[in-house]
Symmetry: C2
Subunit: 264 residues, 2 copies
């Protein structure tokens, strides 16, 4: 049986999602906790978004295949949370519908990048996930510059190159707003992201937002088709995986097949 888990974490004390020997990672902590509670030697986890070191999640989705679940899913959630530290929580667990794959069934991932550009709006209670930016940001310019990046493009300029991996993605949303409390938020949604893509996009746009680069610079970087050393990757601290979108249950298997075929 396949179990779907909704997971949230403060990424500050994790070296990212992926398990690495000797390092504290989300996958490592969660798989160890599940194995402890289920009294099995180990479990394999598949997640929707392999977040980098320091990146947070409120809406991570994970699946795990189990031979059997001795108790109900509510008991599983309670017991796993009893073993985990409080910076990592399982919010919900349920038996996954047929054909569900946390990674390959996903239609899109939505991230939010948060930054505060005014000392009077700084909230020490949010200092772990809202980046303090030392210069004022022009939200209209950020939003204007983002327009040219939306849609289907080759995002090679914003991706760490990986052998044989495509860098073509559909950027479904990329927009900036200033909340009433002064925090500036970038909402970024795409079918999938290549490595460090959100933080490279945000880093490129922040240069526009603070007036250091013209509004059309990000579009120029995009069409150049290769990484520009002038683009700074924004710090992980401000980035949170908020939500993963899936199709209706009867389309999960088809979606997973389509995605797998495209990646292969």
């Amino acid at each position: 049986m396949r179990i779907r888990l909704h997971v949230a974490y403060d990424g500050g004390d994790f070296r990212g999602w992926a398990a690495q020997p000797g390092l504290r990672t989300v996958e490592g902590e969660l798989s160890t906790a599940l194995a402890t509670v289920l009294r099995v030697p180990s479990v394999d986890l598949t997640c929707a978004g392999r977040t980098d070191a320091g990146v947070h999640a409120r809406g991570q989705v994970v699946h795990v295949d189990l031979a059997a679940l001795p108790e109900g899913t509510d008991q599983l959630v309670r017991r796993v949370n009893g073993v985990l530290a409080t910076d990592l929580r399982v919010l919900r667990a349920a038996e996954a519908p047929p054909g569900f794959d946390a990674r390959f069934s996903a239609l899109w991932r939505r991230y939010v990048y948060r930054v505060v550009d005014d000392v009077a709006s700084v909230d020490p209670l949010a200092r772990g996930h809202v980046l303090v930016w030392p210069r004022p940001l022009d939200v209209a310019a950020l939003d204007e510059a983002s327009r040219a990046l939306r849609g289907l493009h080759d995002f090679a300029s914003f991706c760490r190159r990986r052998e044989g991996a495509t860098t073509i993605r559909t950027l479904l949303d990329l927009g900036w707003t200033r909340r009433p409390d002064g925090v500036v938020e970038a909402g970024v949604r795409a079918d999938a992201f290549c490595h460090s893509m959100v933080r490279s996009l945000v880093g490129c746009l922040l240069a526009v937002g603070e007036g250091r680069r013209p509004v059309d610079w990000p579009a120029q970087v995009l069409v150049a088709g290769r990484r520009d050393p002038a683009v700074t990757v924004a710090p992980a601290l401000g980035l949170t995986l908020e939500e993963v979108g899936y199709p209706a249950d009867d389309e999960l298997a088809t979606r997973a097949e389509t995605t797998r075929a495209r990646r292969a």
Copy 2:
């Protein structure tokens, strides 16, 4: 000259506001940082709300009297924040209007207590200031029970007794709401609070909210006029001083005189 400071802090790593030898306190850190930046041996601070160990603030107000301010207040804010750790921030500084006293001119203090009663709504990014409550809370019952506590009362039942200090207070607001994200908030506003009063009120009410006590129990505790050992003081973690209210500038001095006379 008197400078008014707006201050915010994550109380988690502070032993409260009041300076204590050898302990990390908000007053201790802030006065040391100001003295360093101003190159004076020490400064005396007066705050609007002497928060307990672990209690947070987004809207603490402080005044400090200086012989001179070598630079402008914006520079003071920048330089003090450069010395302070990031869990304590000075948000604004300005020369105070005549008659202003951070403590005695205040008309009211507003606190918010935050608690999450549903594992699916837990946010690890907010774990430092939103208390996780293990049982479901009835917000309508919390609000109903709060009604009898509003207004002018002797809050001796909810105060740690202090020699010669009055426990009569005006509770201007006490109400509960559930936010869209599931977090339950109690908003508490009064002319002033005696020691541990907000946390005692919240602790008493949470017993009603989880169904362990009847809705009229807090009113019974109030009229009894003495501390009830059945009332649990709620943990500091969930409490934040959000705002302090002051009268118009031309009424600051009168208000300070009235308050001082009443306390004496």
